[in-house]
Amino acid sequence: MGIFSHLQDDECVARAQRGDRAAFSELVARYQDRIYRFLVRLTRSQDDALELTQETFLHAYEALERWRPEARFTTWLFQIARNQAFDWLRRHKRVEFVALEDDDEAALPDPAPAPDAALETRQDFHALERALARLPTEHREILLLREIEEMSYEEIAAVLDIGLGTVKSRIARARTGLLEKMPR
């Protein structure tokens, strides 16, 4: 429990803007795993996701002066993480779908050690991760925001800087695409 764990995000940001680094550390502690898991599944690389997670928080810290309470801190932070990831994907020319080789399975998060009885569940998870990784980046990111991060359509629109109608249609297309890639 941090000394600022009782504070809302915007109160922590306000303190961090006044130079309180402990308040910013509280925000890092709150969101480091969410940002990391989002970036792992976007980049499909745990090492690069770790680097990008660090860069996301460093960029957020540098840009704190520009944050205004009207913007929700979570969506603002995910926007930065998403921009970091897309810059990285462009640099590595991986925006378009790249088929996963067997070696790439190591990049996918490994579920907790499973006994034999849970082997089927583990295989299901693996199949779903593989199908998700095969989606185009735009579809993958919107499903991650909707299903894993459980964001509202409005929050997704803010993170991706698109209209609500586009959010609705893109989620539908992403779901259809993922269902098609799932083993029958």
Binding site: A16, Q17, R18, G19, R21, F24, S25, E26, V28, A29, Q32, D33, Y36, R37, V40, Q46, L50, T53, Q54, F57, L58, Y61, L64, E65, P109, D110, P111, A112, D124, F125, L128, E129, L132, L143, R146, E147, I148, E150, Y153, K168, S169, I171, A172, R173, R175, T176, L178, L179, M182
Partner: protein, 148 residues
């Protein structure tokens, strides 16, 4: 009613339809096994994605970043009355003192020159007749002596 499109079914699964649209689609679903199946697939997918184990960092990132966080520039609510000129105060004081000491030293020089005799070097340079020498032409000597 014709079957709704994927977009409507997806929005229904997310409870993002208006109450009226939601009621209409619900009514359609009761008599359409194909759409029931499609909605079933979407909701199963939602549950499966939410159940996926999530990777975690496993360490405190904030402490790792501590050295790389530069202090935030402080916001000052009101400017000092000197504003941006306050940085020039020491330089101004130094310049004032230098000027005052220059005036004082100059005054010393001028003052001593007014009461004392002219230095011999100056006489040698500007006076055509050396001290103690005889004047070759009286007009010239009077002219130079009378000059300021």
């Amino acid at each position: 009613m014709t079957c709704p499109g994927t977009e409507e079914l997806s929005a229904y699964a997310d409870h993002m339809l208006t109450p009226r649209e939601h009621a209409q689609l619900q009514q359609h679903l009761q008599g359409c096994p194909a759409c029931q199946h499609r909605i079933g697939e979407m909701t199963s997918l939602q549950h499966a994605l939410r159940a996926l184990p999530s990777p975690t960092l496993g360490f405190d990132l904030a402490s790792r970043l501590e050295d790389r966080l530069r202090p935030q520039p402080q916001r000052s609510p009101a400017r000092h009355w000197l504003g941006n000129w306050s940085g020039w105060v020491p330089a101004g004081l130094a310049a004032g003192m230098a000027l005052a000491s220059g005036v004082w030293l100059g005054g010393l020089l001028l003052g001593s020159g007014a009461v004392g005799a002219r230095p011999a070097t100056m006489v040698r340079v500007f006076d055509p007749v050396p001290p103690g020498g005889l004047c070759a032409a009286a007009e010239l000597c009077r002219l130079t002596k009378g000059m300021p």
